[in-house]
Symmetry: C2
Subunit: 406 residues, 2 copies
């Protein structure tokens, strides 16, 4: 038997199931592959031997299409990161032993930075142990768009489209009163400002979009911020502001850090939120006008009803490529996108070594942000624009989207 | 000259411009009407003599269609409530004098409870003063769905569709990890739970939807709530909760009141928000599992990209009717919907005396809520279901909705 295993990991996105559908489509049609397994809850499911036969769940073209349109990881996710091999080999042994037991020769892992770390470590482990018949590849996924080696990441375009659309709508909402008012919208992005930057795309059809944009790549200064807001309030009643959840001051502390508990997640990341709330208090105290904060929160990553056509198509293709590479004997690679041109938008798909990706972060280049650090430049807009084009329309039934349920 | 004036007021919705389009379509085609004026920022614009000629802004069918698809009040809004006539007649005099000066005989005001109060007071004033050639009518609008006299209110169906869709998506997002976790989602609704109830429509396509639903019509008890959550956590990893922003304890205090400043808005309403945050802290302290709160905030009222086809059609028709009634000599009325049947969904449009509407609140009947006060009943679902049917698709351009800008 020559079986294949796939799994999903990391935070949900609106496109990760499109990548899953891509892997499945490829796996189902390749005659090298016998059983196609899915692990429930990522690598944790592999460790717990919790796998399912995907052909029993996905019965045909219609199921595959519905899966492709469904947000959040259908197979479940986890936040488990493998220990360093040098520290503890037991998890590695357990995983590989299980794969061998189930005659699994191909393992495709869809996820972000931490998942690519798993692909990297497992493929290194196989190399070290001389295991030559298990091929491990990754397909990228992250709304944060912070993966190295790929021009952009599946899920980002859809989240960016949601954010751009929502800012266009919030702008209209905020504009209706003639009262001086400030609205601060917090966008996801722990370490990078890509998502927050996409709020600027709300200007494409004549809207003014956000008046101020603060990304976490530029150290945040509260006094400058208050000056910026005062200046904008002089020329407009309604000031709309986009801010990354992860903005930090010049000492490197999260703006929200003082307000937060010192809790960390399973990866040791500090749990942050509330940058906009801190800024809100400051505007209230310093300026005294009407002010409110809004968090786009989970909605920005799971809005399956509003997805980028480009993103969904690419997400699927990247799944197909990661699957194809494994079947054809590659290991330790991730499928990626290389951009050839912005306009017309042209890309190539390519397999890249996963060690170029794992545990790295692709930040926004400084010249994508204006000199003052409170808006983006045309370079950023040219980069972002193609990624939100097209609408991957979901089918509605009973008035709500008709998503796939296992 | 026989001119017409229209204005919008109250909080923005995704459907209020559809009502505006309905008024305009009717006004433009009736030969009784000469100039069609729009007041900028509602009745405040009338007081400040800030009006525009609508034919200069809306040049044809295409503009009208685009306007119909655009969220938030295109003419701007205000929060101005007229003083009681007995207290101070000066605003009334100023308004009527301006209408007479501009030869305006028809005034159509689109808005919620407070706007209907204005329609009521102004028409009473005209009656008292023997002014027989000014006809004042209202067209309803409020996402809160709390207007008396009409089966439901324009804007509500679209907000309900957004909420139902978002809960279907949040459910999937929350479900991906195998960790015990509670997600508390706060929905708008200061005095009534209609919007929060519509989260239950997320169950229509096989999803479990929210595990618990708390509306402001039932006094909230924190101990019962914690018991409810504990019981749900026994049978599921992920517990999703919908709660009205305006829930109060049995003493009638807003749950969030202690956490809030004592600020009130221009109408004297207490500014509330943060019920979900209070509940979040409680779950963290009492149960200790992972817990987070999410506010649907402004997005739920301005999501023009996700609107109910039924809502948009009805919103337009109610604008047409309010306009027609004024032109045909009625005053002090509001256009309303009378429901004849749930399934098949059948309604009639009717003009009702506006004093049946002004300053009243239509709460959720107790039998629309389950005995335990933590979910809705089938009666509620039968009521809500028809209102979110159909999709009023917006045209996308450059990857974002192509909305109307004056």
């Amino acid at each position: 038997m020559n079986n294949l295993l796939l799994a999903q990991s990391g935070g949900p996105t609106a496109a990760i199931n499109a990548t899953l559908a891509g892997v499945l489509e490829m796996a189902f049609k390749r005659e090298e592959v016998d059983i196609v397994y899915g692990a429930v809850n990522g690598i944790q499911g592999v460790l717990e031997h919790h796998i399912i036969d995907m052909r029993e769940k996905i019965k045909g073209e219609a199921d595959l299409k519905k899966l492709c349109m469904t947000p959040a990881a259908a197979l479940g996710s986890c936040r488990l990161k493998l220990k360093r091999m040098e520290e503890d080999e037991s998890e590695y042994q357990k995983i590989i032993q299980f794969l061998q037991e189930k005659e699994i020769h191909y393992f495709i892992y869809i996820g972000g930075n931490d998942s690519m770390d798993t692909v990297h470590k497992l493929s290194l482990y196989c190399e070290k142990k001389g295991i030559k018949d298990i091929f491990i590849t990754g397909a990228p996924k992250t709304i944060d768009n912070d993966l190295m080696g790929t021009d952009h990441s599946p899920g980002f375009g859809s989240a960016a489209k949601y954010i751009a659309t929502t800012f266009a709508e919030l702008e209209r909402d905020c504009h209706v009163y003639s009262l001086k008012a400030v609205t601060i919208v917090e966008v996801m992005g722990r370490d990078t400002g890509w998502l927050t930057a996409s709020s600027a795309l709300s200007r494409m059809n004549g809207g003014k979009g956000p008046d101020l944009i603060y990304l976490c790549e530029v150290p945040f200064d509260m006094n400058h911020f208050i000056e910026d807001v005062r200046a904008k309030l002089k020329i407009a009643d309604s000031v709309l502001i986009a801010v990354s959840e992860g903005i930090k001051n010049k000492e490197g502390f999260y703006l929200s850090q003082e307000m937060q508990s010192k809790t960390v997640d399973a990866f040791g990341h500090t749990i942050i939120s509330g940058a906009a709330r801190v800024m809100e208090s400051c505007v209230r105290n310093e300026i005294g006008c009407k002010v409110r904060s809004v968090e786009l929160n989970l909605m920005q990553r799971c809005a399956g009803h509003l997805r980028s056509g480009v993103d969904i198509e690419e997400s699927k293709k990247l799944g197909e490529l990661a699957c194809k590479c494994a079947i054809e004997g590659q290991t330790g690679i991730m499928s990626a996108i290389i951009r050839e041109s912005d306009a017309p938008y042209e890309i190539q798909y390519k397999a890249i070594p996963v060690d170029e990706v794992a545990n790295k972060v692709r930040s926004v280049p400084r010249d994508y942000i204006n000199k003052e650090g409170n808006d983006v430049t045309d370079k950023m807009l040219s980069y972002l624009y193609p990624l939100i084009q097209g609408e991957a329309l979901v089918h509605f039934h009973h008035g709500i989207p008709d998503y796939f349920y296992f």
